[in-house]
Amino acid sequence: MAQVTEQPRKWGMVIDLDLCTGCNACVTACAMENNIHYTGEDEVAYGRGLYWMRIQRYWHGEYPNVGPEFTPMLCQQCGEAPCEPVCPTYASVHSNEEQINLQVYNRCIGTRYCANNCPYHARVFNFFDYEIPAPMNAYLNPDVTVRSRGVMEKCTFCVHRLVHARIDADTQGDPSLENEVTTACAQACPTNAIMFGDLTDENSPIRTLFERSERGFQIMEELGTFPSITYLKGGGVYGGRD
């Protein structure tokens, strides 16, 4: 049996908006990693795409000097998550070991209250039973549940990877193995705009960035949700441009 880690970890992410090119590689990687159903063109256009992360595209500047701004938006794994207390069946719960928000599909009865209450709109809902066409079923990741109709789902910080890493670290007796874990989106990001790591680890490269960067801000931190994701943007504070 795997040894229980003495100290709970707190996984976090830093997203450098100055490096993000809006290429959507993270979105694609996430969809492949987490067995996300493709719901079809019309449904996606209507706002029923099941993507766990999305690139928000805003424009800044006046014509003709217009430029896009990209914000990868995913579940912020809040410390005080608004989705958790409103779920009547504890389908949306906080995990002690990883310090993230879990969605327990078996327990979800589909009230969709959590999705309404999420200020980041990070949650998506399985409106139908989606079919996986024949060759595509071979792509399914065996570590991740294929969700059925009527349940809510959202980004898990690739919790299956975290668990695998913890088991590897415990069985091989090498805690550093756990620090090498990363999420699918961070792994796929060509510009390294997404960085993932353990915030309790003194040597973690993202810890300083997460807590101390002058460019750092958290989205809607005024709501008191204590997100686990810090965004970095062009000097100054709180989204101010250089």
Binding site: E43, Y46, G47, R48, Q56, R57, Y58, T71, M73, P82, P85, V86, C87, P88, T89, Y90, R107, C108, I109, G110, T111, R112, Y113, A115, N116, N117, P119, Y120, H121, R123, V124, F125, N126, F127, F128, D129, R149, G150, V151, M152, M220, L223, T225
Partner: protein, 479 residues
């Protein structure tokens, strides 16, 4: 000369007296048996038109409500129009609408009973029945709107293999408990005053009906001790159900106020929802009274313009109170200064669905304020029917504004979305409406819709006292 004067005075007094009797049910007593027979006749008379309505409504319920619900359970909740970020739509709107209507039924009956408002007597039961059937319609929606309705019992606190209780921090669990509490207490409150009338019906029927009434009347004989206990029980319930009603609708408002959703997270929501519920509920009582009065035999004797008049005044007061809270919501949001909330409130009035917002204001404020101050309009049942119908349309628009229209424009403009109800959602909403009407239709022939004993009690207590030359109605305290 003197004799002639006195003769004239006597004639005028008679005229005055007959006018008063025509005006007030309480001053127009009829023999008890005659009144009993009037109610029994109304209860046992069915026309082909009645059966046509029953059949039509049953068909609508079967197809639009249960048929579509079954189809939705088989295919998925995706056949509704909801989408990210608007995860709650017509279902929750209709849920709040029914709960609001049902809350005010008992409220009207209980508060008028507590304050001994004499005009309440003939229509308390109609209002209480509205509560029960409104709850029956509303309580279905928490099930209908679930993504996986077959697992609804996860919300019920029962010992289970998962070793899990429901999450008591979730407003949905509070809601579940509040609604079941209210359903139970309002049903008892409906049943208690019904016992003497059921006994009355028991004594005037034969066969199967007689046996059912005998069972339901709990062996009521009408002894002094029984009356004493009944009055006491009704009194306790009338007082107890008022705080229950307040708490339950506050809890429904907490479904929204507890969230961090901009435009929902407001402390004003509790009283705002209660006032809204009372406004829509009282309006629905008037609508139902009109329908009863114009369709059921002998009801024109019981339901008179004076009742529409009195309820019309109540409606005007509640419409003003509602407008006050509506204004307050804007005032507090403006004072709070949260940008997202201000943007939502502006979008309600200027956005793509602004017509819903204006419809709400026209129906809830303009129409009642412009009409209900007028005694002649208040006393015209048909006019009151349309006014109260409009108020309920307005209250539906209010809930629609609060739920999907607020959800659609949250803090991140990139994720804004507009929700369009699908035909299936609308059909289910119509289906519960039909179910309400159907249950009411069936109940109108199954139980005495007029609390006969209360009317008779009131008529015994009322008399005309001569003060100087005028006749003044006076009420004797019976209890």
């Amino acid at each position: 000369m003197a004799a002639e004067t006195s003769y004239l005075t006597g004639a005028r007094a008679d005229l005055e007296q007959s006018e008063l009797a025509e005006e007030h049910l309480m001053l127009d007593p009829r023999p008890r048996e005659e009144m009993n027979q009037m109610v029994m006749e109304a209860m046992t008379t069915t026309t082909p038109v009645y059966w046509a309505w029953v059949g039509g409504l049953a068909l609508i319920v079967a197809v639009c409500l249960f048929g579509v619900w079954g189809y939705m359970t088989a295919t998925g909740i995706g056949i509704t129009g909801i989408r990210r970020p608007v995860f709650w739509g017509v279902f929750i709107v209709t849920f709040v609408f029914w709960i609001g209507i049902s809350h005010a039924g008992t409220f009207v009956s209980a508060i008028l009973r507590v304050f001994k408002a004499e005009f309440r007597r003939p229509f308390t039961r109609a209002a209480e029945l509205m509560t029960t059937f409104g709850l029956a319609g509303g309580a279905m929606y928490p099930l209908i709107h679930l993504g996986r309705v077959w697992t609804f019992y996860y919300m019920v606190p029962y010992p289970n293999a998962r070793w899990l209780w429901p999450n008591m921090r979730s407003p949905l669990v509070w809601d579940f408990l509040a609604i079941t509490t209210y359903l139970l207490s309002s049903t008892i409150y409906l049943y208690l005053p019904l016992i003497p009338d059921l006994a009355m019906a028991r004594d005037r029927t034969t066969g199967l009906r007689h046996r059912i009434y005998r069972l339901l009347a709990l062996g009521w004989r009408g002894t002094e001790a029984e009356w004493h206990r009944l009055r006491k029980a009704i009194n306790i319930f009338a007082f107890a159900i008022i705080p229950v009603m307040f708490s339950v609708h506050t809890i429904v408002s907490w479904d929204f106020a507890v969230g961090v959703v901009a435009g929902w997270h407001s402390t004003i929501f509790g009283p705002y929802f209660i006032i809204g519920a009372i406004l829509s509920g009282v309006a629905a009582v008037v609508t139902i009274l009109f329908v009863l009065r114009s369709t059921m035999r002998n009801f024109k004797y019981f339901i008179r313009p004076e009742h529409f008049d009195a309820l019309g005044k109540l409606l005007l007061v509640f419409s003003m109170a509602w407008a006050y809270f509506f204004f307050n919501e804007y005032l507090l949001s403006w004072y709070g200064g949260e940008e997202a909330v201000q943007r939502i409130l502006t979008l309600h009035a200027t956005g793509p669905s602004a017509w819903v917002w204006y419809l709400m204001l026209i129906c809830n404020v303009a129409i009642p304020w412009l009409t209900l101050w007028n005694r002649r309009i208040r006393r015209n049942p048909l006019a009151m029917f349309f006014i109260t119908l409009a108020i309920n349309v307005g209250m539906y628009a209010e809930r629609y504004t609060i739920i999907p229209l607020t959800l659609g424009h949250q803090r991140m403009p990139f994720d804004w979305g507009i929700y369009n109800p699908s035909i299936f959602e609308i059909s289910i909403a119509i289906g519960t409406m039909a179910m309400f009407c159907l249950l009411y239709l069936l109940a109108s022939r199954a139980i005495p819709l007029i609390p006969v004993w209360e009317v008779q009690e009131g008529q015994m207590a009322h008399s005309l006292k001569k003060v100087g030359k005028a006749h003044v109605p006076s009420v004797t305290e019976l209890e």
